[in-house]
């Protein structure tokens, strides 16, 4: 493997647990993925599947207690972030790995001018002087398309609209030209028109800087638009990991199929929207078998007995489903599934 193909971020067997009075919640339970330079990985799944916890785990921002990284490793350029000292970790945060949070309305400090909020990371990591950092932060605001950035930089978040605040968040995350950008639902809180602009902006900057992007979203439209490959998460696990084309053209895991089927279609007359029956198992009390089994139309005996592994398929994609293993009997043939 040559230098270029070496992943910058390698997550192996990551487990993040929360210990509460109700017991141990296995929010993220053994996930693996890799990210290369210039690549965009989408992590999709419904609310509570562990997407955001995964991203917070990478930067070690899990509120602790009750949260804790209980196992696995996160290799960033060969160094394990899980075992790194807090001091070293601080040099990574906001500098080499940055994050855009999903709530632009609450993720900026309400009493500090936005320019200063960008500049402080520059002073810290790039050792810039006060004036230089300020100039750079105005430049960043201009880069993310904020009109009259000199004036805006001096304003506080309440004077900015939601779309502008999210741009500020992006400017902040990109100020130190990170190698990895984690975007946690960067457009969920925004209007559709702004959404497209923000995504285009990230894409544009990605090609300029060459950073790897982890796009966390529940919006398959965003995935189709921006991602090279996709990890589908369900109840703390990755259930399918494939290229974006594969996911959309040939989804393998029944959950992925369900997700895609539940997208409303413009060209078909639909009486009602399709859903996936049932609900996600509690993270405190995971079933012994496949976590999707209770909602799965293909369910067999083995599904509830034992959890399947994430197995690589002939086309290079990976699926966590008994259906794609030799143990699958295929007895229950789908009548109702179309």
């Amino acid at each position: 493997m040559n230098e270029k193909n070496k992943p910058i971020l390698e997550v192996k067997g990551l487990k993040t647990y929360f210990t509460t009075k109700r017991g141990v919640s296995k929010a993220v339970d053994g996930i693996d993925f890799t990210l290369h330079k210039g690549e965009t990985l989408g992590i999709v799944g419904e609310s509570g599947c562990g997407k955001s916890i995964t991203s917070l785990s990478i930067l070690r921002l899990i509120p602790s207690p009750p949260g804790k990284i209980a196992g696995g490793s996160i290799l960033f350029k060969g160094n394990d972030l899980v075992t790194m000292s807090e001091n070293e970790m601080r040099k990574v945060r906001g500098n080499e790995i940055s994050m855009i949070f999903q709530e632009p309305m609450t993720s900026l400090n309400p009493v500090i001018p936005v320019g200063e909020q960008i500049a402080e990371a520059l002073r810290l990591h790039q050792k810039m002087g006060r004036r230089e950092a300020w100039a750079k932060s105005v430049e960043m605001l201009k880069l993310v398309g904020i009109p009259s950035p000199e004036k805006r930089a001096k304003q506080e978040p309440f004077q900015l609209s939601g779309g502008m605040r999210q741009r500020v968040m992006i400017a902040m995350a990109l100020a130190c030209t990170p190698e990895v950008l984690i975007a946690d639902e960067p457009t969920t809180a925004l209007d559709v028109t702004i959404q497209a602009q923000i995504l285009a902006l990230i894409k544009d900057l990605q090609t300029k800087i060459g950073m790897g992007v982890i796009m966390i979203t529940h919006d398959l439209g965003v995935v189709a638009e921006t991602c090279d490959k996709v990890a589908v998460m369900y109840a703390g696990n990755i259930v399918e990991h494939a290229t974006t084309e594969q996911i959309f053209a040939n989804p393998k895991h029944p959950y992925t199929q369900g997700l895609l089927a539940s997208l409303p279609k413009i060209y078909e007359d639909q009486e009602e929207l399709r859903t996936i029956e049932g609900s996600v198992p509690s993270s405190y009390n995971m079933p012994a078998g496949c976590r999707f089994a209770s909602r799965c139309p293909y369910q067999e005996a083995i599904c509830t007995a034992q959890q399947p592994e994430l197995v690589e398929q002939s086309d290079g994609s990976k699926v966590r489903c008994w259906k794609y293993t030799e143990q699958w009997t295929g007895q229950v043939e789908q009548e109702e599934v179309v």
Binding site: R90, R93, G94, N95, M99, F101, L108, I112, H125, E156
Partner: protein
């Protein structure tokens, strides 16, 4: 900002007029006739009537009130019934003493209270947090007259390192200021703690962490400024309570301040003196509130005065 201060100043005028109204009429409800007290025991009816006539106490109340207001507008606070000295002269002697005491007390309230609150909030539910909050609970519960006496007993009588009473040097300030400021410090500590804990959970603190900032910078730059907004209000309210407290503390430590002057004047039914004293105390309170508002706006620019 300047416009805000000016507008806020204009608003204080009706408040102050309201205060004169309340003070004047409440004093009329207080039992006891100043003319009788002044005339002394066994004075004849004629003497009492003459005194009443001389002081204008026989006129209708509203006439007396408007007379009082007119005089106030001219800077005339009346003369003491006790010694015929102008009330204003007496107040101007006493006021600096009370202001000094109040200032040191509020300083103790702020420094001690916020410091303790931050220490608690940084490591919630730890030994240091439990310890600080226990002390704060005791601080809130202690009545100041008892606490003052205990301080006096311990530091002045037992250890003999601080003066018992009086108001001569900076050393004399320590015990009364501590007595007066302790309760407020305890309340401010609890408020700072809960406000800090609330702020630390906010998304923007997570953003600050994600930037790689040091914990110290996160606490003092990102969290504290937001956490202080409700604390400032509490400090302002505490100042009011503190002014009331000077009455007690000045009596305990034999300090000739405004509070003690008012107590003595009430005892003597010295109406002009009481009115003047209370009016000045209210004035201080109004000014402090003005400061609180200005600070509030400085810390939180979202606030607009309608």
């Amino acid at each position: 900002m300047l416009m805000f201060i000016i507008r806020r100043l204009v608003q204080t005028v009706p408040v102050i007029i309201g205060v004169t109204f309340v003070v004047f009429f409440i004093m009329q409800l207080v039992p006891g006739d100043p003319a009788v007290l002044l005339a002394g025991e066994g004075a004849s009816k004629d003497t009492i009537e003459a005194i009443r006539e001389q002081l204008g106490l026989n006129r209708p109340l509203y006439v007396q009130y408007f007379d009082y207001l007119m005089n106030l507008a001219n800077g005339d606070f009346g003369v003491s019934l006790k010694n015929s000295q102008p009330v204003l002269d007496e107040i101007l002697v006493r006021l600096p003493i009370t202001l000094e005491l109040a200032l040191f007390s509020i300083l103790i309230t702020i420094v001690l209270g916020m410091g303790a609150g931050i220490i608690s909030a940084v490591k919630p539910y730890s030994m240091q947090d439990v310890g600080v909050m226990l002390v704060a609970l005791i601080g809130i519960s202690l009545p100041s007259f008892w606490f003052g006496l205990m301080l006096m007993y311990f530091f002045s009588v037992k250890l003999q390192i601080l003066p018992v009473a009086g108001w001569d040097s900076l050393l004399h300030v320590i015990l009364p200021a501590l007595t007066l400021g302790a309760g407020g410090a305890a309340i401010v500590a609890r408020m700072t703690r809960s406000s800090m804990l609330d702020v630390i959970r906010q998304d923007y603190i997570r953003t600050a962490r994600a930037k790689g900032l040091r914990e110290r910078l996160i606490i003092y730059k990102h969290a504290l400024r937001n956490a202080l907004i409700p604390v400032i209000t509490v400090v302002g309210l505490q100042f009011g309570a503190l002014l009331g407290g000077t009455v007690l503390v000045e009596s305990i430590f034999a300090i000739n301040g405004l509070g003690r002057m008012i107590v003595d004047a009430i005892r003597m039914r010295d109406l002009p003196m009481v009115q003047g004293g209370v009016l000045f105390a209210s004035l201080i309170f109004v000014i402090v509130n003005l400061f609180v508002d200005v600070f509030y706006r400085f810390f939180n620019k979202r606030i607009e005065l309608n």
